[in-house]
């Protein structure tokens, strides 16, 4: 499905968070949103998914205003993976993924619903966890369960809010490979916010760089990841001359940012008490 966002603005209690954000996401495209903390990445995803409701609706899905769809209709089109997931009461992995079938279930779980849940667990390689409790899993496993839940919604569009932020490097790569697979051969449109510029550069078809709630740069990774952009948006110097597999690699050149090495020396005047054996 094709999604186009235009003129999207959002305020939290009068404070503007997003300003006139505009971009399109095509079929089978993986788009990453990067930007400093507080630049509005998460808010943008929540506005797209109508968890937050911008005053004037500005998201068209295949030409249809998403504000005119019911919550249920929208949940059949869009899947959302939040930054962190906690469950107030323990549920098994199978039950959590089954929640993704909610838009299609009235009361009883059908044959097709458990078929789809099992398929998603198998696709993500977490079938062996099916009867474990969600809260007992590691961060990487939990993230896969939540992705499986979003896939069980059978959405055309997937939104993921910093899915790699608490994962080790192997799980980070694994999650992004999954997302690329879903976009390239699964035909889903994937929008994902990321902090890691190198991961974004490596996996995105297109990148959007936010600064204080507006789109500062947009385009292919080599167009967005430039020393100049990083300097302006993040306020740090970085080298981007290196590249891996044709994608730019960011190496920060900052050494003692904020001069902490010299300033920390005066913080603690008292000597620790002498410890006798």
């Amino acid at each position: 499905m094709k999604m186009s966002i235009s003129n999207l603005s959002f305020n939290y209690a009068g404070v503007p968070i997003l300003n006139n954000v505009e971009f399109n996401v095509g079929l089978g495209e993986l788009v990453t949103i990067v930007g400093p903390n507080g630049s509005g990445k998460s808010t943008l995803l929540k506005c797209i998914n109508r968890i937050l409701k911008p005053k004037q609706n500005s998201v068209l899905i295949n030409g249809v205003d998403s504000g005119k769809l019911s919550v249920k209709e929208l949940s059949m089109i869009m899947g959302y993976v939040p930054q962190t997931s906690v469950s107030a009461f323990p549920f098994t992995v199978f039950d959590v993924v089954m929640m993704g079938r909610k838009p299609y279930i009235h009361w009883s779980v059908g044959e097709r619903d458990s078929e789809i849940v099992a398929l998603m667990l198998d696709f993500l390689g977490i079938g062996h966890l099916a009867l474990r409790h969600f809260s007992e899993l590691s961060g990487g496993e939990q993230q896969k369960v939540i992705i499986a839940r979003a896939l069980a919604q059978q959405p055309e569009i997937l939104l993921l809010d910093e899915p790699t932020s608490s994962l080790d490097i192997r799980h980070q790569l694994e999650i992004l490979c999954i997302l690329r697979g879903l976009a390239q051969s699964g035909g889903r449109s994937v929008v994902v916010t990321l902090h890691d510029l190198n991961l974004a550069s490596r996996f995105s078809d297109r990148m959007i760089m936010l600064k204080k709630g507006y789109v500062f740069a947009m385009g292919r990774p080599e167009e967005v990841i430039t020393s100049q952009n990083i300097k302006t948006v993040y306020g740090i110097c970085a080298d981007v001359s290196a590249s891996v597999m044709g994608r730019p690699v960011v190496t920060p050149l900052v050494d003692d940012f904020g001069d902490f090495t010299s300033r920390a020396s005066v913080l603690f005047e008292t000597k620790p008490p002498e410890l006798k054996p």
């Binding site: 929540k46 998914n49 109508r50 968890i51 019911s70 919550v71 249920k72 209709e73 929208l74 949940s75 059949m76 869009m78 899947g79 959302y80 939040p82 997931s85 906690v86 469950s87 107030a88 009461f89 323990p90 549920f91 098994t92 199978f94 039950d95 959590v96 929640m99 993704g100 909610k102 838009p103 279930i105 009361w107 458990s114 078929e115 849940v117 099992a118 398929l119 667990l121 198998d122 390689g125 079938g127 062996h128 099916a130 009867l131 409790h133 809260s135 919604q153």
Partner: protein
């Protein structure tokens, strides 16, 4: 690697196990009811008890009850009390389970949400002024308790709505309203001119099933039945809300609407019970937790399982209360806590998995 077929089989196996638990609980409840029916200050025995019930429910069979005395004891005294215990236990437990789920908090009960204190105040008001002014029919106390429960809910709802209907604002508003009504309750007791009235209030607050009658059941049962059925239809919404309000929206659940609707359901169910029985606590808090340990958190199974456990707990406690110091009896609230707390603590310690996060 587990295949999809094996996964599906695992899931349906879990489902069968849950249904089995529910069936066993139902049988246990029926056995307890039969036992409770047959024993008491006067013990007619199981066969007599059954023949009274059969002769009353199927009058066309022309079975003559064993004796007029047995008929009175079984049919007009004991059976309504047992039925009321089952209705009250089941309804309170269902309301407790769903409220805990909706508000994502394992400590929620009718006490926390201010409903109990409001009922107490309503009843006290009716007792004090009803006694001193005139009797306004037998339903004055019941009606007043019920109305004040709803009033408490309305206050909690509007306070919480200003704060965006978050679960913590509902709970905090509930606690505050609860304190308000207990203060008002104390005030009524303090200024009450009649000693008898104060005693009657204390008695009411302890809760009990001794006033059960078919007439009361006829009012209470339909309300509880309808609200509980509506709660059952909310099972998926409640499951999903436990993952958080934002996620619920992304899964197609209008979380604020679900929260408000359930608040109304749970208040009506609880109010219609405690208006008749007085304040019965503990069951609505604990029965859902024991059910969670037995059957997990899927509300499609958790609600019926909690109901059976709640009914079982209340009926068992009332039976013990009736039998333990015959011919007088202990109020059901006291017995429920005395028996239930040690059992619950045992479960809490012995179970590896927690029933809440």
């Amino acid at each position: 690697m587990t295949t999809t077929a094996e996964l599906k089989k695992l899931y349906s196996k879990g489902k069968k196990k849950k249904i089995l638990v529910i069936i066993s609980l139902f049988l246990a409840l029926m056995a307890t009811a039969l036992f409770s029916l047959s024993f008491g200050a006067s013990s007619p025995g199981i066969t007599e008890a059954l023949s009274v019930i059969v002769s009353k429910t199927f009058p066309f069979l022309n079975i003559t009850p064993p004796s007029a005395l047995a008929e009175t004891i079984i049919w007009t005294i004991r059976l309504p009390r047992i039925v009321m215990a089952i209705i009250a236990g089941a309804g309170l437990a269902a309301a407790g389970a769903t409220m805990q789920g909706i508000l994502r908090n394992p400590l929620v009960s009718s006490y926390v949400l201010g409903i109990s204190s409001a009922a107490g105040f309503g009843a006290a008001l009716a007792i004090v002024f009803g006694i001193s002014i005139a009797t306004l029919g037998g339903y004055l106390v019941i009606g007043n308790a019920f109305v004040f429960c709803l009033l408490a809910m309305v206050i909690v709802y509007f306070v919480a709505r200003i704060r965006g209907m978050g679960s913590e604002s509902v709970i905090l508003a509930g606690v505050a309203v609860g304190f308000l009504f207990s203060a008002l309750l104390s005030l009524v007791q303090y200024i009450s001119p009649e000693r008898n009235a104060v005693q009657a209030i204390v008695f009411w607050l302890m809760g009990g099933l001794y006033t059960s009658s078919w007439q009361n059941i006829l009012i209470c049962l339909p309300i509880v039945a309808v609200t509980v059925i509506l709660m059952m239809f909310q099972a998926w919404n409640i499951n999903i809300l436990s993952m958080g309000e934002e996620v619920a929206v992304s899964l197609g659940v209008n979380s604020k609407r679900v929260l408000s609707f359930n608040m109304v359901l749970e208040t009506i169910a609880t109010a219609s019970i405690i208006a008749f029985t007085g304040i019965i606590g503990f069951v609505d808090l604990i029965a859902p937790h024991i059910a969670r340990m037995l059957i997990g958190n899927d509300y499609r199974y958790l609600i019926p399982c909690s109901m059976l456990l709640g009914a079982f707990m209340l009926l068992a406690a009332d039976t013990v209360g009736r039998l333990i110091i015959m011919p007088t009896e202990l109020p059901v609230g006291i017995v429920t806590a005395l028996l239930g707390v040690p059992f619950f603590i045992y479960l809490l310690i012995s179970k590896r998995r927690r029933s809440f996060n």
